[in-house]
Symmetry: D2
Subunit: 330 residues, 4 copies
């Protein structure tokens, strides 16, 4: 069998089933880190990589890569994905009025949140996506994620895993120097990822966390959310699956809702085919809705595209994703 094409033009737009299956078979990492593995490609981050990452800190500057977790966020309620609902159980207004019943003049404010774990800047855990009823590492999906949560690969297992070298690929600026924003539906190819890295003069290798900026969030910031969550967007082509596999990166994140190009690259009904290849088969952790705009400005100014990236998930027992505030340290 020939290896799957890495050119978006070669996709058979009528046959997502085969296009997905070929890549799932070609890039499957099941068993690579043992039968009990719960981390997938996060295993590529080793101590040496972390030392390298820490060595990238020269100015002592920090940039947050998180969007605001905000009631006015991008979600529209699709599949019960609301924006965060943040409410107060005590406030300063109460404290000032003196109705809290506390002694010696102390007053307090407390708060509560209800939110989908994928409502804003986030990691997709390994239990987030299945391929024909199979989860990461060849487990049956129903053995992994029940109504109790992800019993096997819950995001809590990655609590100490996600500190590494980060590399920004500003594909938006690379391909569109004028406005640094790719058009909706633009499928980024493996060759373009390589070209962008080369143009920036940065390498990508084992254990790195790659951040791909498309400019989609910049547009939403300018024009309003519109269909940012779930609608059209530039993103990675299904044909990048090979690149994602052989580069041995630990994780990847984008400034878009769904990481891969939307609409997907098929005329037949399809939904997030690249997710289907990379999460359950490659074991790749994916970040979505990251804010890479300030980072891009900073990298360009510094002429440096790599940094220490610290992006640990909240260890929510059994979660298939986690809200995060990733920070890049220079």
């Amino acid at each position: 069998m020939n290896p799957p094409s890495e050119s978006p033009a070669d996709i058979d737009r009528s046959d997502p089933e085969s296009e997905v299956a070929a890549r799932a078979a070609a890039y499957r990492n099941w068993g690579r880190w043992g039968h009990d593995d719960v981390l997938g490609t996060l295993n590529f981050i080793d101590a040496a990589k972390r030392r390298e990452a820490a060595g990238l800190v020269r100015q002592g500057e920090v940039i947050s890569l998180s969007q605001a977790f905000d009631t006015d966020g991008p979600q529209r309620g699709w599949r019960r994905r609301t924006n965060p609902v943040h409410t107060m159980t005590d406030t300063g207004v109460d404290a000032e009025r003196g109705n809290q019943g506390f002694p010696h003049g102390i007053g307090g404010a407390d708060d509560v949140i209800a939110m989908p774990l994928q409502c804003s800047t986030q990691w997709d855990g390994l239990g987030h996506i299945f391929d024909h009823g199979m989860a990461w590492n060849g487990r049956r999906a129903g053995d992994v994620v029940t109504s109790e949560g992800d019993l096997v690969t819950g995001i809590e297992h990655a609590a100490a895993a996600i500190v590494s070298r980060g590399v920004l690929l500003d594909v938006g600026a690379h391909l569109r120097p004028d406005d640094a924003e790719l058009p909706d539906g633009y499928a980024i190819s493996a060759a373009e990822l390589d070209d962008c890295a080369a143009a920036q003069g940065v390498s990508v290798g084992r254990g790195d966390i790659v951040l791909v900026r498309t400019g989609r969030l910049a547009r939403a910031r300018r024009e309003g959310w519109g269909e940012y969550a779930g609608g059209p967007s530039a993103g990675l082509s299904l044909t990048t699956a090979g690149w994602l596999h052989r580069s041995e990166i630990a994780a990847i994140a984008t400034d878009t809702w769904g990481f891969e190009v939307r609409p997907n690259e098929f005329d037949a009904p399809s939904f997030q085919p690249l997710h289907q290849v990379v999460i359950p088969n490659i074991g790749l952790t994916i970040g979505e809705m990251w804010d890479l705009d300030a980072l891009a400005v900073s990298c360009r100014a510094r002429r440096r595209w790599d940094f220490l990236l610290s992006a640990p998930p909240l260890p929510i027992t059994g979660a298939v994703g986690s809200p995060i505030n990733p920070v890049a340290v220079f």
Copy 2:
């Protein structure tokens, strides 16, 4: 006026109002970073401190300092503080059964959480506590935190602030070599903090984030949660306020529910008097319910007590606290 005593034995147990007021007046930092400040002592973290912190990374090892965010956590429902309620909106069981309606064999799992922001490992934001109706930097509490949230000092302002040098003070092990667990109600003094640092051979200074281990969580782990959330515990004495002020640390965190000693050091009705001094007056960010046990083991084995600490909050708009997964990198 004499400076407030730093000896716990000197506290007038009948007069929390005066004991708090004296320390609030003595250590108040209002205006120190300008009238618009929203960060308080986090301002002590500068680029040099972060470079120093990154320089502490030698092995490339990471330790998570977060407890599990778990439905079986310590909360008892007091003041509507439940444990996280994590529910699935799609599961692997559904995917395997094929009821999700997705094409080409893709399946998915999604989840939702409802939780108090202070239910587990967390930062208290500057809007969390008030002193006689006043919030950090001399603002009226009711101008800062309304039912809409913290309109001024919301935790989102600290999104890029909390990466610094961390220093563990294992006071539990220092004072109780046998079991490394302080008894409930034990009020740690300023002198004991200094002694512990000296014994460990580590310095504490401007911009550091100090982690104080009491052993309270270790006991809960062994005996069950019991009253871990809100009940008796060792913790900092009210008389440490001066130490917390003059050390110019950026933040402090403990392995207990409430950071300060419980019951509080008064016979008269009292509630969290040290909070009342340090949050609205000093502008100190406080961490609670951190898991410092693995860190302590690691530090002891390395004979090193400082490390790179990355603990950015989730930038939840207007929140007065944030769940976090702090990581120590060696």
Copy 3:
């Protein structure tokens, strides 16, 4: 002082403050049921009225007046008003797969909901609206509703109160025989309420619960939610406040989001002026987003417009509103 006009044409559209204040003063019921009252006009429902209502049951038929509490409901997230988020903590798919760990073949499904209390068919409680900082019966708003909830007039006090004679006024059909739908912005006047009742041959009196159908929900059902929640709609004119007062009805409900006409009847900035008059001043309980369409069809067919109405709120401690499923029994 002349009584306020009951003609919508007389409203001074530049002066909501005065138009509201005149009606608040004219119709204020404070003290009418004693200083401790927590029920307002619900006090008009007496035993005789309930016996009359039960006597209206002749066929033994029930019609639910509730919309579905549905994730695809009308809410858009404004002021954190989402649609209900209903999630499962156990499912039949799990039970069938046998992963629940229960003995002897029993399986179960459980569920959780998160929702604004005003997201769908509902009662507004007496603590829902204030007039210049004053709540129902002349209490200070801040003494009544704190972050702890409504400490005085919480909806739980009405748990056994809201069973009475219901009267439907199908104003939509009365004024628009062709399509039974009033246009957006149509302000229903007191005279039109009386005309509609007369045309239908039904009386309205003390203790009745009046249901006013505008046709707004029928249109949303046909065209999609659009701006059903918060947008333009027919509804009661501010000038009906006198009618609402002197009729001595116990409560009123409509098939619209906000009961009163939207946009409100002012050119100057305004927001729900009729609420401001009737809830804190008259003490009137208001129902919103009721489904009156099947009821209207049924009433017309029966040539009867009154019925037993049972619409008790959920006794949520301290709530300022409640989701309900009102039932009409014929």
Copy 4:
């Protein structure tokens, strides 16, 4: 095959599987109301029964049978069953302080709730319990209740169904005249239900909703919640399944957490065997945690034990249960 015994003493305490299976087979109503049925025994309520019920209203008095939906309710967090978390998104304290930004002096309070649907007074829907992977009417459990909710027998189908004649059986008072409270673990038999009805002079028949008072809630009210939710309690014996079937009642409710006796009547591991018989097999709707104490006092004073009962569920799409405020009208 002999019919299953209706004497609690005959239960083989070592064999829940067989004891359940025998009763499931003997009393199964699958197909009785057609293959599409979604209401089960609620079908027994007909127009004549409702007319009879309305005819019971003589005094025009209403009693609520709902417990408070309260943050200090009975739940302990088991299986993510918390008490309701009710929070305010706007308050009177805010309104009085004038920070809401509304014109002409209007202020408002709004609120949000997060709660398990089975946290307090409730109906169990037909999708709540399964028997060996089968749901009501012989459907596969996984075809009925997925992560999307109950796609077939959701509680919304009963929106207009549950208004009928209610009959209180105060078994607590009948068997324990002194304190009207049955001891924990007391299994009420079919004979005792009949005896109680006879002693009270009330009949039970087709379409009635039977309310069984054990006194368990009265004790919790006196002693504190303790293990009210999930712990020991009097309740119906498994052997009442035949009575529940042949009486052709529409629904049943008790003042206990779980309707049937706790601990269950087996030495072998068991869990809610009567649920397993009556919900998926008989199609019986069950009410739990009703407050029957004021009702019992009232019935005894009136020497009348039947009344109009209105207890419609909230029509939450796909819910397997619903919080309710049932009202009895005399």
